[in-house]
Amino acid sequence: MKRFFTILFLAIIASVSFYVSGLIYTLPPILLNGYNGVADIIVKDTISKTHALNAVTAIVFDFRGYDTLGESFVLCTAVTGVAVILRKAVKGGRNDGAE
């Protein structure tokens, strides 16, 4: 019975993946009438929109600034977790006074 269900689910997954990979060929091309979405804006208008020569920094700190805010809060949380976990090990040792 277990083997039957395994084969059944594998067959369903295989048929769905074949169907989706067949659908991909029917999609319209991404580059439609010379318009390439936000990548076009980032590549062509970086200097006029942000005055930054480094395009990667312009993306990370301007176009995706909210993402970077969350990333820096993740770092803050990680450091806080390390301090909480290692607090007793540091306090009980020879070099105390760091918590």
Partner: protein, 152 residues
């Protein structure tokens, strides 16, 4: 192996004295020039925090305690960095556009050190934050390492 941990090699000490200022200068350069050359706040902050690891390799926990007697100040400075980032992100709302909008981007010509408005300041704050956070984490981990060696 046990003796090497307490008596440091003279080559490591001299190499640290040579490499420590270069590491700090390279890290601050990468932070401040991140909108002109490859790099950024995260990368420059981690390069500066590598200086703490260099000091530990050469002088051990005693040297770290001489340089940073109160490591809690590093954690507080990290939170100040995130406050600076939030302030420059809120500048967009204060000038009636959306959050994280670069509203003061037309200060200076492209290619100058001070140009690109909030990108420069956000890089500075993220660099400060990563530098202080990773340094604090390294100091705490090195101290925990030392007490584990002490117990054995």
């Amino acid at each position: 192996m046990e003796q090497n941990r307490h008596t440091k090699n003279i080559i490591i000490k001299c190499g640290n004295d040579f490499l420590f200022p270069i590491t700090l200068i390279l890290g601050f350069y990468v932070i401040l020039h991140s909108h002109l050359t490859p790099g950024g706040g995260f990368q420059g902050g981690v390069v500066v925090a590598a200086g703490v690891a260099l000091v530990f390799l050469a002088y051990g926990n005693e040297g770290l305690k001489k340089i940073f007697p109160f490591p809690e100040i590093l954690k507080q400075t990290e939170n100040v960095g995130s406050l600076i980032y939030s302030f420059f992100a809120l500048l967009g709302i204060l000038s009636a556009t959306n959050f994280c909008r670069n509203t003061i981007f037309n200060q200076g010509t492209p290619g100058d050190l001070y140009s690109s408005g909030t990108i420069f300041w956000m890089n500075f704050s993220v660099g400060l934050k990563v530098m202080m956070g990773i340094s604090f984490m390294l100091i705490i981990m090195f101290k925990a390492l030392d007490t584990k060696n002490e117990n054995k």
